[in-house]
Amino acid sequence: MAEELLEVKDLRTVFYSDGEAIPAVDGVSFGLKKGETLGIVGESGSGKSVTSLSIMRLIPSPPGKVVGGSILFKGQDLLEKTDSDMRKIRGNNISMIFQEPMTSLNPVYTIGKQISETLMLHQNLSKKEATDRAVEMLKLVKIPLPDKRIKQYPHQLSGGMRQRVMIAMALSCRPELLIADEPTTALDVTIQAQILEIIKELKEKTGTAVILITHDLGVVAEIADNVLVMYCGRAVEYSSVRNIFFNPRHPYTSGLLNSIPRVEGPKKKLQAIKGVVPSPNQITKGCRFKTRCDYVHKRCMDEEPPLLEVGQSLVRCWRYCGGGECDG
């Protein structure tokens, strides 16, 4: 096993609203080794994106703030870095791509200029070298005729093309970690598959570790090694991708899996998880999933379960607590 690249321990990020601290991410821990892929899964509002922005130290402040925990990247705590050190890490060691490729590129510059700007900023390349490297990157993300494409403006490219450019830009400095925040959500299915294929290939070629944030379990099955399921700011299940799909433990995880429509087999009614994600300050005691859980019982109402070790998974549910005797 390779060394630990990123270790997030007990991360707590809150947003202040009307003097009240609302936890968006509450005590989340996970680790990532070199070249590994971690999928972070959850519904909208579960704290996936806030987790990734916390790692980048880009939580808008005010109103947001990382109030606890540590984020060790190659053994150094990112939360203790100065702003200018952090700027050197962003784009160079840790990079990120977003959900919306249509607006993620600056409309007034050619894509070649945008890719080479990052290279010139972080790697001290000359303009010529940076442009050559930009062409090379575009080739890597399978953009045809890269010499011509670099002279084009974003509005001349399709959504899939732009997302490729974003990936090229994010990976141009060969970062050790790429955070992909719903990289395929805004694209149609065939392009989604291509983009995932590219991320997968580049990961193997460059050894970049990837954190993939998504609500699409199909995407996770495709490329993740481990999966962290988040609900309402909490990690509810953390396990290998095999375990998640073949042996889901948390009622929320199985709920998510059941709510994927099946094409093959007899037609069944789609099983949705009842209700909606409560806002983080709505549930102050007990399990956060209690309002939507099929297995809810008395203990869930008052006490929040800790992350329990069940087999090779970590699960936050009282059901795995041998007759309710354990105390976290």
């Binding site: 784009g91 607006t103 993620s104 590129l105 050619t110 011509k148 084009q152 830009m169 291509q194």
Partner: protein, 293 residues
């Protein structure tokens, strides 16, 4: 994956948006008229010594107060100075005001507006309070107050004009930044490790240039009017410097016997202001993507 051929639609010309823009601009008669006046003004200012038949302070008392004729195209004033020559040299003053004062106010407004819009919060609050205060005063009145403090003179007029007209830019730029800073490409720039200053000036500002250019063309005539007003009141250019405002003012006592003294510089002010306004309006239409057809 050999499936990328579906997207080979590459044009060899990277973008034809500028020629589109030029075509749209030139389609407007107002723009052509306005641009001609502006170009004429610039040519006059640069080539003043060649165009003017006499020096701007060349006195010739026997030929005082002559009506326009072939010898004196716009007539002469009470000291026999050629009004045409004075008006031609006066264009230099107007153009100086237009470039320097408007340039300085543009820079002040741009920086303050950018900081307010980008950082928001307390920075925004402070800058907005300042901007609104400056905005609340009538331009000319505030300029007179500045001149009263600084003393009359052309340089002080420029300072005064710059100090009274930056608020419009600050508001405009702030508004642009407020909407642009939420765009994902700004977030992307941050993620790629760019500093705030780089994001402000290299990524957001170029995206808000169009309305700034339009406002600038509309601010130039205002600056010219304020300068002329101040010179008319004797607070700006001092004699014998031929500012259009001061020429009008000097013709005031002869308005019934020699109206041409005041008429021609007044006509020039009107034409130049009209030219800039027409050009600015057409520019706004040409740059507005919603009006593209």
């Amino acid at each position: 994956m050999a499936d990328n051929n579906y997207l080979i639609d590459i044009q060899d010309k990277p973008s034809s948006s500028f020629s589109d823009f030029r075509k749209r601009l030139l389609r407007s008669k107002g723009a052509v008229f306005g641009a001609s006046i502006i170009i004429l003004l610039i040519v006059c200012a640069i080539l003043a010594p060649l165009i003017a038949p006499y020096g701007y302070d060349e006195m010739n008392l026997p030929e005082g107060l002559q009506a326009p004729s072939q010898k004196h195209l716009f007539g002469t004033d009470e000291l026999g100075r050629d009004i045409f020559s004075r008006v031609v040299f006066g264009s230099r003053i107007s153009l100086q005001i237009a470039t320097i004062a408007v340039g300085v106010s543009l820079i002040i407004g741009l920086v303050l507006g950018a900081l307010a819009g980008y950082y928001g919060g307390i920075v925004d609050f402070g800058i907005c309070a300042l901007t609104d205060t400056a905005w609340a005063f009538p331009m000319t009145l505030l300029a007179i107050a500045f001149i009263a403090a600084l003393g009359p003179g052309l340089v002080n007029v420029m300072i005064a004009v710059a100090l009274v007209s930056w608020a419009g830019y600050a508001r405009l730029v702030r508004g642009q930044f407020l909407s642009l800073r939420e765009q994902e490409f700004v977030e992307a720039a941050r993620v790629l490790g760019m500093s705030d200053m780089r994001i402000i000036f290299r990524h957001i500002l170029p995206n808000s240039l169009a309305p700034i250019i339009v406002l600038t063309t509309l601010e130039v005539p205002k600056a010219i009017i304020v300068e002329s007003s101040l010179s008319f009141l004797g607070l700006g250019a001092q004699p014998p410097t031929p500012s259009w405002g001061s020429i009008i003012s000097s013709g005031r006592s002869f308005i019934d016997t020699a109206p041409w003294i005041s008429f021609f510089p007044g006509l020039m002010i009107m034409l130049v202001v009209l030219g800039f306004n027409l050009f600015g309006d057409a520019l706004r239409d040409a740059l507005d993507p919603r009006l593209k057809d």
